[in-house]
Amino acid sequence: MSEFDVMPGNKAVAHGVRLARVEVIPIFPITPQTTIVEYLGEFIANGELDAEYIQSEGEHTCMGMAVGASLAGARTFTATCSQGLAYMHEVVAQAPSYRTPIVMAIADRTLGWYWSLGPDYSDIMPELNLGWLVNFAESNQECLDMVLQLYKIAEDRRVLLPSMLSLDGFYLSYSYERVGIPDQELVDGFLPPYEAPYPVDPTISDRWPSAGIPPPLHTTYRRLFEEVMEDAKRVIAEVDAEFGEVFGRSYGGLIEKYRCDDADAVLVTMGSMTTAARRAVDRLRAEGERVGLVKLRFMRPFPTAEFREIAGEVDAIGVVDRVVLHGTGGGSAFADVKSALYSLEDRPKVMNFVTGLGGEDIPIDDLVAMGRKVLRVASTGRLEKEVEFIEHPLPKGAEPIRLDEEMPIYPGSDGCAGCGSSIIIRHLLKILGPNTVIVNPPSCSGVNYSGVVRVPWILANYAAAAGYETGIYRAFKHKGKADKIYVTGFSGDGGTVDIGLQAISGAAERGESMMWVCYDNEAYMNTGIQRSSSTPLFAATTSTPAGTVWKGKPQKRKNMILIMAAHRIPYIATASLAYLPDLERKIRKAAEVTRSGKGMAYLHIQQPCATGWYFPPEKTVEVGRLAVQTGAWPLLEIEDGVLRLNVKPRKLKPIEEYLKLQRRFRHLSKEQIAAIQREVDKDWKSWLALEKMGKLPWY
């Protein structure tokens, strides 16, 4: 027996992972995938799933963790999309040769170059040809069921390949549907524990997978992989049939045909648009039109034989693509369908509709119109336009409010009411002025201020922001303008202490004379409050929830100040939005240091976040002030190696005064509060000791 619940697609995926008894789950947040791994965190926090949950500092590492865990013989799951998937790419390409049957959910989202949170397949299509199985789900039920099926397929000794489960962002990831949750016992019977054939475990195995072969064998091995892909087609069909017997639901293997009997023409769709396409076909059928629908379930391995069979039955095929392969003029599935059919003697006409890019909805009416077009091609035998882009006019948005005065940043923003980073950016730009270029990795601040700033605001890829910044700075340097323009990184803590650290470290060590400003809200806020390595001890976040087993983040925060000091850069300072004169002085100092070409200036400014720390918005500054007064956020600077504490209360207030204002600490026990107090005291003493040294000895 199974129970039913109403849930979003991301939760359905998480239930699938829980039921599959996955053993290792490396994670990194990205919208609209994040809630998958948050649900998994909750399951673990409350003892409903026993798995290693690893909060990585970026997707490149995250995929490395997944490959490593799978190599060691653990059933492994991860999830990502868009920029995250692209950032993983190198490791994604490595996984098949290691024969790691990882399942990775992709909650599809547009990949730059025009950013959008909405789904299209520009993220997953570039990953198609690496040797992964790639499956597209249409419904939330299918999401859950396919996690189970994909593990069974991927772990089959005839396959042993990683697989992607694509679910459309928003349309599935966040949309609620009724989903049956199968019984654990049935799932255990269907999906036995994973046994890696050659685990990298010297205690039980003498043989391990290798990624190195001499060039003459490459062609042979690639051919063998194609044979494995052919075997995978059979396994996919078998597993779907067995799943149907056990759970009473099956999906048709590589494709599903809907109302294709006696059809003159078919539409081909994938993912959630298929449901709208079913309704469009129903409507046309009701009018007596002989049109059917083919749902493309697996893009890899590609259902070549199935399409060749369909080609013998219809006169026209209309492929609906949510992606463009630039330089080919059309979409991805279109290219594959055409190439599958080309060697047939007798071929139907194949046309392509490119639509729904950037996450735009694909309405039933549009699909009806597409259906009519394909039918017309079928009946006339004439194809005038091979590819059609379905475009809609832009609804009118709000106009900016024009003000007399020119300001580097105008009033208003998209930030939450009371957002502390708004206070910080305004003071920063007030001092730096109009000749500033802000380089901004993805974060709350990009969403909040890019619309109201009057200075160039360059959205940079997350891990590469300090790279973008260095490039801009060096170009100005080369043109002799480096002392006239402030090139400034403005980044959250995630973009600084985690995924951005490598590029910042490189720039600091090379002595790039530019500023990096980290506004530290102590978590990944833009993706919905996941922990970063700057999240303080025991704080609850959505990836370190407080449950029956977990009690908030178990680790202390990273000491980024000393990391920067290890680079011997000329100026480092912490600051607070509650101490504005101190903050402004430090911004001036940082500007002066970078303008004189002395090297990097690094500012780390605490930013209380009402939304993520759970306090009322009017308390933003009050919370910041208490952080300084309790020693939770010491104000200090390191100038040419000389460390000075800028605010030294005679006696620090008890840390509890600071903690009790914030619901992220609501779950704390007395022991935990005492432990935090001990850590604060220890840190404070350490800073005092460093101050006493005069100059840090390694400078």
Binding site: Y114, P400, I401, Y410, G412, A417, I423, R454, E618, E622
Partner: protein, 80 residues
């Protein structure tokens, strides 16, 4: 190319975010303008007397100004 034109930029209307509105008691106000310094939206400017004036088009009603006012001259009142 999609380009940003800084000469066409301006403030962002957020007045409809508000449920509470700041009300300044000008008798009490000492013109320290801490409220303006802390306002996350830069909605507060100084009037001719050097006292705060809230441009409600840009005010989200967060209450930071009222919370930070050292002489409690700003009150948050429910919007009509």
């Amino acid at each position: 190319m999609v380009v940003v034109d800084r000469t066409k930029k301006g403030g962002q209307y957020v007045g409809n975010w508000r449920t509470y509105m700041p009300e300044v008691d000008y008798e009490r106000c000492t013109a320290c303008l801490l409220c303006a310094m802390y306002c996350p939206e830069a909605a507060i400017t100084a009037n001719e007397e050097g006292k705060p004036e809230v441009d409600l088009r840009f005010c989200k009603g967060c209450g930071v100004c009222a919370n930070e006012c050292p002489v409690k001259a700003i009150r948050m009142v429910k919007e009509e």
